[in-house]
Subunit: 335 residues, 2 copies
């Protein structure tokens, strides 16, 4: 099998460049056929690498002058920061030097730059952000996780199609069950667009299980959870915040009794594992689907482990020729 080269935005994310560089090197250690190109400030990256043992053949630095900040507007990548680590990563993919890119930086800027510089796959109207999430019944893919607002039915149908292919080809589920987020399970529930999407997905996918309600997203009833980017963003943010709220309430209760406190002490490591389990940063990032080339957006809070798994996921994504599979399905769906 040939090597896969991944461009990693060394300057993006809350713990960049330190944990990003170390995570990229960890990925190289874990998989023999992966190379990484660390894009960013040569001096800073070199300093981190110098204190590590790694395969010099498979890790190299690509200089980039500027950094897109978290507060920068997405369009800044075209006006002022064409030489940023984000843009350089994406250019490496466009030039064919790298097979995929990973960034934990300003996600709006990454998505905008990727769509413009790499272009959309044939037939895709709007690329979408997939997001791999934990559920009680294996991982699920939420699509769109925040890229598109004001969607029409045909856009959501395409999100379903892209999610289906990703879940099947990259995550290895044979017949991914598709669920459409709505405010009731009956086909006539939902707003106008959702009711229309319901009909379209039903017509095109036999593995469509119909509408699913909010309480069935994380039970894993569906492998692919379809919604527009506005709703997807709110679902993600709500679900990410609740464990913290729950733990806070629990802590208040636990303070009330010596015995609760003692119990908490014993069970504390389990809580730590839990936090890891529900921390989306751990889940290998969010694939950007519908663009030419593989790109993974890692969570801003990504640590070494999260970056490593995003790099591995991106490499696997590139390796599967997902893009061709998406184009084939998009061509087939009828609306």
């Amino acid at each position: 099998m040939r090597d896969f080269s991944i461009a990693v935005d060394a300057m993006g994310g809350d713990y960049a460049p330190f944990k990003v560089v170390r995570g990229a090197v960890e990925a190289v250690e874990r998989e023999k056929n992966i190379k990484v190109v660390l894009v960013g400030d040569t001096g800073q990256i070199k300093e981190i690498l110098d204190r590590m043992l790694y395969d010099h053949e498979r890790v190299r630095i690509e200089p980039a002058q500027s950094v897109v900040q978290m507060y920068d507007k997405p369009a800044v990548v075209f006006r002022e920061k064409k030489d940023s680590s984000i843009v350089r990563c994406i250019e490496l993919v466009r030039e064919g030097v790298c097979d995929a890119f990973v960034s934990a930086g300003n996600s709006g800027a990454v998505m905008t730059a990727a769509i413009v510089y790499l272009g959309k796959l044939r037939g895709v109207l709007r690329p979408a952000l997939g997001m791999v999430l934990p559920s009680l019944n294996g991982n699920i893919l939420l699509i769109d996780a925040g890229l598109n607002v004001d969607c029409r039915a045909v856009h959501l149908l395409q999100f379903a199609a892209m999610g289906y292919v990703y879940k099947k080809v990259v995550l290895g589920v044979k017949k991914p069950r598709i669920g459409l987020v709505s405010n009731g399970t009956e086909p006539n529930k939902g707003d106008t667009v959702t009711r229309e999407v319901h009909k379209l997905i039903k017509r095109n996918f036999i593995s469509f299980i119909g509408n699913i309600e909010g309480n069935d997203i994380f039970t894993g009833k569906a492998d692919v959870v379809v919604c527009d980017g506005f709703l997807g963003n709110v679902i993600l943010k709500v679900s990410e915040s609740i464990p913290e709220v729950v733990v806070n309430f629990l802590r208040m209760e636990i303070k009330k009794s010596f015995w609760y406190k003692l119990g908490y002490l014993f069970a504390k490591p389990a809580f730590r594992v839990l936090r890891r389990k529900v921390d989306y940063a751990e889940f290998g990032g969010a694939p950007l689907l519908g663009i030419k080339g593989a790109g993974v957006i890692a969570h801003g809070r990504s640590d070494e482990r999260a970056i490593a798994s995003a790099v591995l996921r991106a490499a696997f994504h590139a390796q599967t020729k997902l893009d061709a599979a998406i184009e084939r399905v998009i061509e087939k769906v009828r609306f």
Copy 2:
């Protein structure tokens, strides 16, 4: 102070009529100036009452022949079940016999019947369901919690106005902070309707804190959380399901070690309190706002305590003359 009479749908909810009847009696015991009219099957209600001690002056039965089932379509209340406990409750309010009603039954049917039989307040375009929820910073009111889909900006502005008045008049917050759910805090974030609503609320309420993201709903950043009913339903269902998912993950972890298990045993009562804290059934139900007369929709899972608190909330709602206050504010808002 005069007595307030509350019509209670004795046949609605998962634990009806037993826990509903007992909960209504509990409310009467807790507040001197409350009377309840238990609406439903006389025989069944009487059997439950006969085994209780209560003030016969303040509890009476109103017969209703049929029961709207959870699976019935809302419109069934007009066609086949005009003599149902739900409809009879609402008629008692319309006739002026009761000041408010409480039902834990089929919420779609309750809302439809209430809007049609009681009518809308002057100027209100669409009544909405408020929902009192726990947060890390006191209770919040989510509006609309599931009644309206395909909303225009002016509808959401009115939801904000009604929520503001309810939070102020019934829940006693002096200057309720209003937050608008969006996929980013900046005013330009959100879909077309949300961006328009942002401007409208800003123009009308100085206590508007702007857009809030999903992760800030349950931290209690805003007292009144505004969204359409589709989104509101999904937010509620997601947030209600996550503690269960978290506890399930935690349980899997805890099984892995004797010490975790031991710790869990000690801390278990704290978990029980937690469950209660995050169980929406405990929060006194959801007020239906914008209709003529006070109505509270209790959670289907309501037990005695939940029904009692819904009855007390409904009585307080009726007592505050909220409706007149809503009409005044609705008249003042500009769009």
